[in-house]
């Protein structure tokens, strides 16, 4: 994985010094809270309902064991012993003191980490496929391109105060594991007819109150124009994105209001102009970055056999592992969704244990997924049982990946000042209702996502089942949506009818799964059956 050179290190160190200075000016009263707010946000520091929250960047979700270990130590030292992994492949701490943040950032900088641009109206941490570099189906490893973009977007002087936040995802396989088309810019690395690698650009996707799937804006951007083209996309947005209404300020609204073709025309014009300036790093820079992402020293000639006599292990292997490109290896996902738990939370000890296992059994690499789980990308099959045993003893052996128990939930009213309703207790109740492994196996893949308000941080539009917390005359109420997907077959979920109470929504989901099981044909997933039979049978069972 990527290692900082002296320049990268100097950049994060300088940022720590700058932020320390900002905090000093705030505490001294030279900055008002209004003035300080946009500055602290650019450093991932939010003011929540009860305390400050610090969001630490995990660029494209990749971490080494030392970094992961420190994340555990920070949870102990500065939080209440927990960290919360997010849908942007980052980690958040919910109980932070303002005065301590410069020290936290300084500790992070020592292991090549930071909180730069993890919030605010700027280009955010770039996300990617959590299986990058290990997946059997990728054309190339997408992370070198994400790293090139990370450096370009860090402190870009022209794009620090955009109309609104800006999220970029980079993938390189047909199977989309990063919800690429639900990003402000989605980039898919592709091979053209001449066999050259390039980038396909999508723009104007997003969730929030007006969910949109990004249209294709360019089939192929050659690798030596990647930055120049990105800069053109951003400049058009910075100049013409709406600033009169924050709910209409995302690039999806600009693309929608101008129309895709007009946006493309303006970008191409700007692109032609920017190509006359020398702003593109040489290909040698991309090669330098790529050298950091070469395969680890895989052993060859390993057996692909797994001893599955332990039934619990077998269940976990079936549910939580994915094929690796290298024979004898496997990708293992650790579910942070134990029955009744808080989705994405891990204790300091659990974080350190995963760090240790990652170092020992996965070539010192771990990944954070946008479904709020942790991945060991390169585990030798012969070691898998040992790894699972250690996880299971620490409460991390839950076998529920992509099932109804693997819920994505935003922090909701327990932490978030914008929330209409709580998300976490609903997630906990659903996870308990469907707690039995047998029931989960029967229902199979069912992606359930919960947001505590229409800002959609829990991605409810993209859930096979989505839950949206709303405020109904001062009471928490939950709307139910069906039919969303974030895979290569991206679609947006639709509201099925009137809302429910907290318990009502759990009952409704149970009824929906019964309708699915009664109508399921062959290997159909919940989503497939829903797409085939439509909403009516579900509505009838739920409201009938």
């Amino acid at each position: 994985m990527y290692k900082y050179d002296e320049y990268d290190q100097q950049m994060v160190d300088t940022r720590v010094a700058e932020f320390r200075d900002q905090v000093r000016r705030r505490v001294a009263g030279d900055l008002t809270e209004d003035q300080f707010k946009p500055l602290r946000l650019q450093n991932g520091l939010y003011l929540q309902l009860h305390a400050y929250m610090l969001r630490v960047a995990v660029p494209y979700g990749t971490l080494n064991g030392t970094q992961m270990h420190l994340l555990g130590d920070i949870a102990d030292k500065y939080d209440r012993g927990y960290g919360h992994f997010t849908t942007r492949q980052n980690i958040q701490y919910n109980w932070i003191k303002l005065e301590e943040t410069p020290d936290i950032l300084a500790e992070l900088a020592k292991v090549e980490m930071h909180a730069i641009q993890t919030s605010g109206n700027c280009i955010r941490n770039i996300s990617s496929d959590q299986f990058a570099g290990a997946a059997a189906d990728e054309i190339v490893d997408p992370r070198p391109y994400a790293e090139l973009l990370r450096q370009w977007s860090s402190f870009h002087p022209e794009f620090l105060v955009l109309p609104r936040k800006f999220k970029i995802a980079v993938i390189a396989s047909e199977k989309d594991r990063a919800a690429m088309r639900l990003h402000d810019i989605g980039i898919k690395m592709v091979k053209n007819d001449a066999g050259e690698i390039g980038a396909q650009f999508y723009a104007g996707g997003g969730m929030g109150r007006t969910p949109m799937i990004a249209p294709l804006i360019r089939e192929f951007v050659p690798l030596d124009q990647l930055i120049t083209y990105s800069e053109a996309c951003l400049r058009v947005y910075n100049r013409y994105g709406r600033r009169d209404n924050k709910y209409k300020a995302r690039i999806k609204i600009l693309v929608h209001e101008l129309g895709r073709d007009e946006y493309v025309r303006q970008v191409e014009e700007e692109f032609a102009h920017l190509q006359t300036l020398a702003i593109e790093p040489p290909l040698a820079e991309l090669e330098r970055i790529k050298a950091h992402f070469v395969d680890p020293a895989f052993e060859t000639g390993l057996s692909d056999d797994l001893d599955l006599t332990d039934p619990d292990f077998r269940l976990w292997v079936e549910r939580n592992t994915t094929a690796h490109k290298q024979p004898g290896y496997i990708i293992a996902t650790v579910s942070l969704k134990p029955v009744g738990g808080i989705p994405g939370d891990a204790s300091a000890d659990q974080i350190r244990l995963m760090a240790k296992l990652g170092t020992q059994y996965s070539f010192d690499e771990l990944r954070v997924t946008h479904a709020q789980n942790i991945v060991f990308p390169h585990v030798k099959k012969a070691d898998l049982y040992t790894v699972w045993k250690a996880l299971d003893e620490a409460g991390l052996g839950t076998a529920n990946l992509d099932t109804v128990g693997d819920i994505i939930a935003c922090p909701g009213l327990d932490y978030c000042s914008l929330a209409n309703a709580r998300s976490i207790p609903v997630a906990q109740k659903i996870s308990e209702r469907f707690g039995s492994a047998q029931k989960q196996a029967e229902i199979g893949e069912l992606k359930l996502k919960i947001s505590g308000c229409i800002n959609a941080c829990g991605h409810h539009h993209a859930g096979h089942i989505g839950i949206l917390g709303v405020d109904k005359k001062g009471l928490e109420n939950y709307q139910l949506l069906f039919g969303g997907s974030e895979g290569a077959d991206t679609s947006l979920a639709k509201i099925i009818g009137p809302g429910f109470t907290e318990d009502g929504v759990v009952d409704a989901i149970e009824k929906a799964t019964e309708v699915y099981l009664a109508n399921k044909q062959g290997e159909e997933r919940f989503l497939d059956t829903y797409r085939r039979i439509g909403m009516d049978p579900f509505k009838e069972a739920i409201y009938g």
């Binding site: 320049y7 700058e18 200075d21 000016r25 370009w152 870009h156 002087p157 910075n238 100049r239 790093p281």
Partner: protein, 144 residues
Amino acid sequence: MVDVQFRFRDDEAVNDPAVTVDAFSEQSNATAVRIEPGEDARALLPYLDRLALVEVNFPAWTDGRGYSAARILREAGYTGEVRGVGDLVIDMLHHMRRCGFDAFAPDKALNPTDAKNAFERWDNVYQATVVDGRQAIWAKRHPA
């Protein structure tokens, strides 16, 4: 008129009042113009040789259009003064320099020590904006 607090030019400061973009296109003898956030800096490109000062107004520093405006003027070869005016903050000064601003007239004077630190804070930069004359980190990594 608000005072220029920081200036990175050796020439004589222009003291002509800056006119609006609309007025400027009708007034062939004006040498100073002020751009508001919603205005297109490219409308000035035909007149660059008679301009000595462009003021870019920031009613709020969080409206980032002015940063693009300055850079566009510089990219087109404009060498006169580009002055940021309005709600300027210490923490953006360095980035404004990188977009091509070379004079700063904040509504409220900024703490000079903090400002000096901010201008000098970043020894290196990740991007080539071209208009600031700085070498990007990638260029230093791969000397030609």
